[in-house]
Symmetry: C2
Subunit: 201 residues, 2 copies
């Protein structure tokens, strides 16, 4: 399991065996059952996690309504990065949508590793850049795309979500009502676009 994580790290920066030994001493494993909450509003997110298996949802509650912001799939790093960086209470919930296995490092240990291993700082920078790209792409879509365009992006770039995530969460993620989501989906399927149909197969 740790070798999967080392591969993921190496994708960004390669570490010597000695450096990796030090890093891996600070990693701990945690498992969550489907529907369990990894983080709740008001708690400080004190870790970065690598998702070995499963899928998590990142949402907040506004006027009693859940608003889904992001999903993270296996082999990705995630965190409530706002709460993590600022060490402030989260405004989010993170939920396991399937049984999940996580490899985690705490903020305190990450800060120590930044001091011990200069190359780890590069890993931190690239991780921050990637989390930036993910949320920036989301913002641009939110501001500039019509519901149809957002749906098209979902089908073409994130079709895995369609297979594994309940429809009401996807409609919230796209910022449309469940009814609008159904209408758009129907329209897409009726165009007989092969890739669209395949995504729902």
């Amino acid at each position: 399991m740790l070798s999967k994580l080392r591969d993921a790290f190496t994708h960004y920066v390669s570490f010597t065996d000695e450096e990796w030994d030090l890093i891996s001493q600070n990693i701990f494993i945690k498992s969550y059952k489907k529907n369990e909450l990894l983080l709740t509003e008001g708690k400080i997110c004190t870790y970065v996690a690598f998702l070995v298996g499963g899928i998590v949802r990142y949402y907040f509650v506004r006027n009693g309504k859940e608003i889904t912001v992001q999903f993270f799939l296996e082999n990705s790093f995630f965190s409530d990065y706002r709460s993590f960086i600022r060490r402030e209470p989260s405004t989010f919930y993170i939920e396991a949508l399937e049984d999940c296995t996580l490899l985690m490092i705490s903020k305190d240990d990450i800060d120590k590793l930044y001091n011990y291993i200069p190359r780890f700082e590069r890993f931190g920078r690239i991780m921050a850049e990637n989390l930036y790209l993910s949320i920036a792409d989301k913002t641009i879509r939110l501001m500039g795309e019509s519901p149809e365009e957002k749906f098209s992006t979902l089908i073409h770039e994130q079709s895995e979500l369609i297979r594994r995530v309940p429809q009401y969460m996807l409609s919230s993620y796209l910022g449309v009502t469940p009814e609008a989501y159904c209408r758009i989906k129907k329209r897409f399927l009726s165009t007989n676009n092969k890739k669209s149909v395949a995504a729902f197969a």
Copy 2:
């Protein structure tokens, strides 16, 4: 002018005089007149800039309409960070809303500095984290706040923008029509909230 930049760097990481000498050799100054474009759609953003004076707007064009995403004020670092990290053509325009003076470093030089000065990597990480926080805060507001709440945030946290940015850009920034913006503003002023009134004084 460079001392202002050194202060800004030192806010994140302190460098020795030798390190700072090396960094400052890679910095160049550029000035832009009001309404001049610093970046246009289709061009790759190859720099990070520190805004010594002025204000810039970051927008994209969709169906012939300008959509304002962010503003950056003096003493802040900015870039089209998506284009910069991925080295891909930008989907944005960056416009000087006032006469602007910038201190800039190119991506190639930044990458060299990451290799020469390990502490510079820390600066890069913290800059990426801050740009993450800025766009993440924006996303959360977009997804969860009513137009009135967005307007309230503008007054209480970004009142400088009200003084220096044309109203039609602010309405686009909040994701409301200019008419809705006027209605909300009128309602706020009529409540006689001192801070609201002061923001428009």
